[in-house]
């Protein structure tokens, strides 16, 4: 008889423990675990978006384009053409072109390392008026015209300077740049010695006085010729600035 009672009591004691355990497991699975999952999901979204924005900012910083403007049909044209040279490894989308204080909404895609002429854009030029041109990219960068302000004087377009820009990224520290004018004479600044600082060396040659024509640019590292290129400045039928990359 006493054996039966003991068995009965021990069975009775287990009911609350089992129920309590079930409730605990229920709370764990229906409240705590979903809560931690939701929090984890929010954290994941946050980290993912943060990473995306870091990439976006990096891409934005890497965007690099040269912008030049020239009259569309010769020096007396009423229209301007904007030349864009994409010098980065990313595709750039041009969404706006500013001419002074007004903008033209556009949608041009400039592939990596390629050039594109945008326009033409009618500006109704008046004598003595000046035009500042810049372009906005979809990533939020604004690039101003590399040749400065373009002006309209005495019935024709003028720029401040005609330039040949030489950018050297080749290995080495000291370089000599030789520029030969269309006449065959050397440029007054030639040969120019440049030092590579921070990954590249840059030298600009003013060719406003010789004017449009074909120039020869040579780059030497020591006695070794590392670059030889003929470049043509065709202003006012083309950009007033040309770039040589070595």
């Amino acid at each position: 008889m006493s054996t039966i009672r003991i068995m009965y009591r021990s069975r009775k004691r287990g009911v609350s423990t089992i129920l309590g355990t079930l409730i605990f497991i229920g709370i764990l699975f229906t409240a705590v675990i979903p809560m931690s999952l939701v929090m984890k999901q929010a954290d994941t979204i946050y980290e993912q978006k943060k990473l995306e924005m870091e990439r976006f900012d990096e891409e934005r910083a890497r965007e690099e384009i040269d912008v030049y403007v020239f009259p569309t049909e010769g020096a007396a044209s009423d229209n301007l053409t904007v030349s864009v040279h994409n010098r980065c490894e990313l595709t750039v989308r041009i969404i706006r072109i500013w001419i002074n204080d007004t903008f033209i909404a556009t949608d041009y895609v400039v592939p990596s390392m390629s050039e594109l002429e945008l326009g033409s854009f009618y500006v109704a030029p008046r004598d003595g008026s000046t035009y500042d041109v810049k372009v906005t990219t979809e990533r939020g960068n604004v690039f101003e015209c590399g040749s400065g302000t373009i002006s309209y004087q005495d019935g024709h377009w003028e720029v401040e300077n005609l330039m040949i820009n030489v950018l050297i990224s080749s290995s080495g520290i000291v370089f000599k740049i030789y520029v030969t004018l269309p006449s065959g004479d050397p440029h007054p600044d030639s040969p120019a010695m440049v030092w590579k600082i921070g990954g590249s060396a840059f030298k600009s040659f003013d060719v406003t006085t010789p004017g449009a024509g074909t120039y020869n640019v040579k780059v030497k590292r020591g006695s070794k010729l590392i670059h030889d290129e003929n470049v043509t400045i065709s202003w006012p039928s083309g950009p007033p600035v040309v770039w040589v990359y070595s």
């Binding site: 229906t30 409240a31 929090m39 929010a42 979204i45 204080d101 906005t136 939020g140």
Partner: protein, 147 residues
């Protein structure tokens, strides 16, 4: 013998009732704790998600001052929102000589440009420091020289 049997069978009722009552109490208290836990967990999770999303919007908003011009007492500040969320912006303009003006609560939708006009009297050659402050505490600065 009969009464003994009856007694023995009666003795079993009280423990059964006690077990039922105890189980009912455990279920009731457990259910209440369960319900409270679920509610608290939901509130905590929602608060956490909301604060995370607020912080997320703060880090993903992007805007820039694209162009500034001045004409007849009005400073035109063109702001381009190149981010993925709409922004509410306050524009402050401080010019040389202590001239100050602002334009508050300007909404710029995602991927759009908006011209914010700030009434301020400036002279040619003045330097204007422009601060664009978003309601999510991000700032963009721009310096403009009046032509």
């Amino acid at each position: 013998m009969r009464s003994r049997r009856l007694m023995r069978s009666k003795r079993g009722i009280t423990p059964v009732v006690a077990t039922i009552i105890l189980s009912a109490v455990v279920i009731a208290v457990g259910g209440a704790v369960w319900s409270y836990s679920q509610g608290a967990a939901t509130v905590i999770a929602n608060d956490y998600v909301n604060s995370t999303m607020t912080l997320l919007n703060e880090i993903i908003e992007r805007f820039t001052v694209e162009h500034v011009s001045y004409e007849a007492g009005i400073l035109h500040v063109w702001i381009y929102n190149y981010g993925d969320v709409d922004v509410v912006l306050d524009v402050y303009a401080n010019a040389t000589g202590g001239v100050f003006s602002s334009s508050l609560g300007n909404t710029v939708s995602s991927k759009t440009i908006r011209c914010v006009n700030v009434n301020i009297t400036l002279d040619s050659g003045d330097e204007v420091a422009i601060k664009v402050h978003s309601r999510r505490q991000n700032n963009v600065y721009y310096t403009y020289y009046v032509p």
